[in-house]
Symmetry: C2
Subunit: 161 residues, 2 copies
DNA sequence: CAGAATCATTCGCACTATGAATGATTTACC
DNA sequence: GGTAAATCATTCATAGTGCGAATGATTCTG
């Protein structure tokens, strides 16, 4: 706890000996993620969707999942939450629940046309926001950022692949 | 916007005409931020701190703020939340509340030595996590990521300066 | 020297997400 | 083959988080 070189902590707004908290990846990703997430949430409000709904839509759009529990694991939330998310999406006509004939305990969630529409609308909003955020970057920088964040995501256990 | 080499975006088993949601900056930042934030939260649990507390500590460590309301604006939360965050940090001995003699409505929040210690401990945890996340990157990549995220942060209204 | 404005604080409320029961269905074992 | 354990979706009660509207103290304005 006290193995830090003294003189490291220089109060006000001076140069730090090593990186200060605001200069860490963790801090940057955390704050940026929160801000960007909030802004995105504001834009999909008109669709009666919240980020978690979009997460479920996205997962369903990527492929079929055996159970809602797998889905829950994928999204990193409790299975009971998947139920209420699916409830809402179903009420919007974005997905259908069908009993799996092979295993009638399972409910197979399938995107409807409306679901694909909503997903496309969300993608459009995200893409627009992307443009606003990266307007000051040149194309190589954008590519590098995209690639690096992708590798971070897989490394952090977020399997897009 | 669609000048991406095809074959780049291979979700699970499909290829989209344009970029899919999971490939947007917004989505990546949102999910990464959430995951990394949660992991960070787990590591500072032993210090009896949560990310929001660290945010307040960080803000206080960066400079003096006139009012708690300015602080609230800085953190993007309601002033009433700053009160409870400060309550907890005060109970940990991390900060002191002193009435501003110039304007006795205001409470000036000041980090104690213990507060600086906690901030340093959080920085250490974040730095460790940084290392784990970026272990597979080479130094130029790390620098580029750091720089780009920094520019995004300022552009997004997160004044680190 | 009143009244409006600003500060920190408290309180009640809404929302989110979780874990523990519940009931239906399937699998495993003897 | 039939019973017990496991697994699934769902409901329910609950904890935690953060906000907005009052409250009381203090300062600014005319």
């Amino acid at each position: 706890m006290n193995d830090l070189p003294e003189g490291l902590i220089t109060g006000m707004n001076e140069v730090k000996g090593s990186a200060g908290l605001p200069d860490t990846l963790v801090f940057r990703l955390g704050t940026l993620g929160a801000v960007v997430g909030d802004r995105f949430a504001g834009r999909i409000e008109r669709l009666d969707l919240k980020p978690k709904h979009v997460g479920l839509l996205t997962a369903l759009g990527q492929g079929s999942f055996a159970s809602q529990q797998d889905l829950a694991g994928r999204l990193g939330v409790a299975p009971s939450l998947v139920v209420s998310l699916a409830d809402h999406l179903e009420s919007l006509g974005a997905l259908r629940r069908v009993r799996d004939p092979q295993d009638r305990r399972r409910q197979v969630l399938t995107l409807t046309d409306r679901g694909h529409e909503l997903l496309a609308a969300c993608t459009a909003e995200a893409t627009t926001l992307d443009g606003e955020l990266t307007a000051h970057l040149d194309e190589p920088e954008r590519r590098a950022l995209h690639a690096t964040l992708g590798s971070l995501a897989t490394r952090a256990g977020l399997s897009t692949a």
